[in-house]
């Protein structure tokens, strides 16, 4: 179906400058800066054709990525980018779409879409920037806010059991789940690589500190700040779901790396099945002829 009318010069390699767009409006020190920088570096490393990259977001500070990266981008509505991206993935398999959203967007208003996409194993990369708070709306409790967190909607400290992203997403059927931190860019970029190499629904949770409304939240995971960044060891079997759940239960700050990776038929493959079940000759026939078949049965 593709048509490419202009002839193009032999492509120069894409550089990080090519990917730069508006200056980020995040607060100075926000963890999202590093996630963006590493995203750009990762794209350059991989040398995806620039025009085939799609950066897709919902609403939130983290969801401002589309303005700060020079790719085809979408700044959609709050909580619904997963079904949007599902359609893009199904209909345009040759693209490289990346969904980048916050913890509120992913787990609060968008929780159902995340769960169903995981179950159906949509071929999609989802990066969740978890700062354990609603940043853009200025400090309300998020589903990942820890017990005791004082926000404007829990001035006395939240008492609700937070969502455990690993547990919820693996439990829902995601075939890839990894965890990284904005404070450890080297490890983060490795996780981008691993995630993008996986075929199927892939989620990367990135702890990304909100310096404005939850300062110090992730010090415990930062060796530079007296904490510990514990990587998952080589003896962890990523295909063992039980082992992944066990890692998920580790107390804060938990562990980092790939928790889970298995291969299961993707929704994309299933839907392609339906098309492939049509005889190739039939598929090639013009629309008008096929429509006539149907109409003839309705005379």
């Amino acid at each position: 179906m593709e048509t490419d009318t202009l002839t193009i010069e032999p492509a120069e390699p894409m550089t990080r400058d090519d990917l730069k767009a508006d200056r980020p409006t995040w607060c100075p020190g926000c963890g999202d800066f590093s996630v963006l920088a590493m995203y750009q570096k990762f794209l350059v490393d991989r040398q995806y054709p620039q025009e085939k990259i799609a950066t897709l977001s919902g609403i939130g500070c983290s969801s401002r990525f589309p303005y700060f990266i020079n790719t085809h981008s979408v700044h959609f509505i709050h909580g619904r980018i997963i079904p949007f991206a599902t359609a893009l993935s199904l209909t345009r398999p040759e693209l490289f779409p990346f969904v980048i959203i916050g913890d509120g967007d992913a787990f609060s208003i968008g929780g159902n879409h995340l769960t169903h996409a995981a179950r159906k194993n949509v071929n999609l990369n989802v990066i969740i920037l978890n700062n354990q708070v609603y940043g853009l709306t200025k400090k309300q409790t998020s589903p990942t806010s820890p017990l005791g967190f004082r926000s404007k909607t829990d001035p006395w400290g939240s008492r609700m059991t937070p969502v455990n992203p690993a547990r919820q997403i693996i439990g829902a059927g995601a075939t890839f789940f990894a965890r990284a931190s904005a404070a450890n860019p080297k490890h983060l970029i490795q996780m981008y690589e691993r995630m993008s190499a996986h075929e199927g629904f892939s989620v990367l949770e990135v702890l990304s500190e909100c310096v404005q409304f939850f300062k110090g939240s992730f010090d415990g995971a930062s060796s530079g700040k007296g904490g510990d960044f514990v990587e998952i060891g080589p003896d962890h079997d990523v295909t063992d779901e039980g082992a992944a759940f066990a890692l998920a239960e580790k107390p804060f700050p938990g562990v980092f790396g790939v928790f889970h990776e298995v291969r299961r038929t993707t929704l994309n493959e299933m839907e392609q099945e339906n098309i492939r079940a049509v005889a190739p000759a039939e598929l090639q026939r013009p629309t008008v002829d096929k429509l006539k078949d149907s109409f003839n049965r309705l005379t």
Binding site: M1, T5, Q50, R80, T91, H116, T287
Partner: protein, 595 residues
């Protein structure tokens, strides 16, 4: 009418239980009518429980124009006592009652007074005898089809061919038994059918008709219009459209997915459109409400999208299996902010097909969401219409990824043409598609001037579309002082009202609106010519009796002679009902003058 008369059109109402297969016999009758070049329109009721129950199927067919499923029946078929009791009033005086005397015991005196010819047929017993059944009533409907073939002097072989097609793929014995039942019905000595009436069957013109429901027509219209991706969630009466598309789209290399809810469905459809694939979503009542947030995104981000609303009775869960035209307001106004979108409404089943092609074109040309309104009556109604000229209508969709020198998704001095991902932009500046107010490249902008200009840009699409629309045509009497205005599935009823008014000496005219947003030009001038503009619609009347369209037209033209004829009873209008309401209004508006 008195017997025996020669009639060109006839209304048959079959009343029984849905389990008796009355829907399938009615469908075959309608299809048969379509095949021999008659007009046809059907009407059915949906039983209130899933496993079935009392229901009717009515077929209005004939060689003269058929515009409605018919007010009163010429022939009533009653399978059970409840069928007889509940529907005998729908049979016209002088009509024919065919009843299964195993179950029905009619009041013959009352019938005689109404000059109704009662015809007792032991349908259950004869079917069992013929097919050798076990007392289950399978085949009874086909027996009836044979009987009606006789009554209406239809071509037996053609009907038999239809029966064979119907059971194609089924077991040999099934086909044989049904043909036996058909033959038994046809052979049954019903008495002198000539004494009932003579049904005129004109020689066929040789043109081919197709016979389908509104839901089928919407689905095939979508395919013809180039739609290749869709997403939806089941809800009555929209569901069938998605079921057809789910099954059919893969044959065209396309995909339709059932999502977890309606919010996901419209988000997916927008994602499909973003990818450059013509996409749709749809729903009924509650699901439409759920889609309005994302609909606003499609407006703001200027993506092409088609949204089908098969209306049902509201508000809330309302009356899922009844007809109502009460979603016009949400179609026009659903979603916060100023969110201009195109709204079209199909006038009949045939139009369901054509309007989808048009909707897909408008969505693409103007990069705008287009809402197509159908309703429960259209959804479930069969109509025969001329086989469309598919060769000239159907466009093969193609994905345009032509490289662009530079690209602004929201240019202030030009229309939007969406560049899907995969499109290379030589100057290296890639677009952001966004729901925030933005500048020409899609970057957020809080500038006063930008919001003013972008707001205007979005509504200007509707002004451009309106400028292309021809002024609507007025149907009916040239000297009429009263104009009926309608929209959607009531088109045929209103035309019938006009036709009848002309013969009855109180001539009316009518205007039917397919384009509800933007409205076509010249409405004010047209209305100004009439003393009364009566807007006929199936929703609740407010000021001046005006319903949802009536209020829109009053806002648009400020003409106080606009009045409403509305109702909210879950049914469609009958011709007689509208005539009566028109007379009532004319009398009441005349009265002050004579006092």
């Amino acid at each position: 009418m008195s017997n025996p008369s020669s009639i060109s059109n006839s209304v048959i109402r079959i009343a029984g239980n849905s389990q008796d297969g009355i829907q399938s016999v009615g469908t075959m009758l309608a299809r048969m009518a379509g095949r021999i070049d008659m007009d046809v329109m059907t009407y059915m009721t949906i039983p209130s429980t899933i496993s079935g129950g009392p229901s009717i199927f009515q077929v209005h067919m004939g060689t003269a124009t058929v515009l409605t499923p018919g007010d009163l029946a010429d022939v009533l078929v009653a399978f059970y006592q409840h069928s007889y009791e509940n529907h005998i009033e729908s049979l016209r005086d002088g009509g024919v009652l065919i009843y299964d005397d195993t179950h029905v015991d009619p009041d013959l005196d009352a019938l005689r007074q109404r000059r109704i010819t009662p015809v007792a047929v032991p349908m259950t017993a004869l079917t069992v005898e013929t097919v050798g059944g076990t007392g289950t009533q399978k085949g009874k409907n086909i027996f009836l089809l044979g009987l009606l073939t006789r009554v209406y002097r239809l071509d037996y072989d053609k009907v038999a061919a239809l029966v064979k097609e119907q059971f194609r793929g089924k077991d040999e014995s099934v086909v044989r038994n049904n043909l036996l039942a058909l033959e038994a019905g046809y052979a049954y000595q019903i008495g002198d059918v000539g004494s009932f009436f003579t049904f005129d069957i004109k020689p066929e013109s040789g043109e081919t008709n197709v016979t389908m429901t509104g839901n089928q027509a919407l689905a095939y219209g979508a395919i013809a219009g180039g739609i290749r991706f869709g997403a939806g969630y089941p809800i009555t009466p929209w569901t069938e459209v998605m079921e057809i598309l789910r099954r059919e789209l893969p044959r065209y290399g396309g995909t339709f997915i059932q999502t977890e809810d309606e919010l996901a469905a419209i988000a997916a459809a927008i994602g499909g459109a973003y990818g450059g694939t013509p996409s749709l979503t749809g729903s009924s009542g509650p699901g439409i409400s759920l889609k309005t947030e994302a609909l606003g995104f499609a407006v703001m981000s200027e993506l092409p999208l088609v949204i089908i609303d098969v209306q049902r009775g509201g508000p809330s869960t309302g009356l899922p299996t009844n007809v109502e035209q009460s979603d016009l307001s949400i179609a026009l106004n659903g979603s916060h902010g100023d969110a201009p979108r195109v709204v079209l409404a199909a006038a009949n089943v045939e139009d369901c097909f054509y309007i989808m092609i048009e909707a897909a074109q408008i969505a693409r040309r103007f990069s705008v969401p287009v809402i197509v309104l159908s309703d429960q009556a259209l959804a479930t109604r069969l109509e025969a219409f001329p086989y469309p000229n598919l060769d000239s209508l159907v466009e093969e969709p193609s994905l345009n990824l032509a490289t662009r020198e530079s690209h602004k998704p929201y240019p202030l001095d030009a229309p939007t043409h969406h560049a899907p991902p995969g499109t290379k932009v030589v100057d290296g500046r890639y677009p952001t598609i966004t729901g925030l107010e933005h500048d020409e490249y899609g970057n957020p902008s809080g500038s006063a001037q930008m919001h003013t200009r972008m707001t205007h840009r979005r509504s200007d699409k509707l002004r451009r579309l309106a400028a292309e629309l021809p002024p609507p045509e007025v149907y009916g009497a040239k000297d009429a002082r009263t104009l009926l205005v309608g929209w959607g599935s009531t088109c045929g009823v209103i035309r019938s009202v006009v036709d009848q008014s002309i013969t009855s000496g109180e001539p009316l005219a009518a205007l039917h609106l397919r384009n509800l947003n933007p409205l076509p030009p010249s409405l004010a001038e047209i209305f100004a010519k009439y003393d009364n503009v009566l807007v006929v619609e199936l929703n609740e009347g407010g000021v001046n009796g005006c319903g949802q369209l009536g209020r829109l037209l009053r806002a648009e033209t400020c003409q106080p002679q606009i009045r409403g004829i509305t109702k909210s009873d879950g049914g469609s209008f009958r011709v007689s009902e509208v005539l009566e309401r028109v007379r009532g209004i004319l009398e009441s508006t005349r009265r002050p003058a004579t006092l």
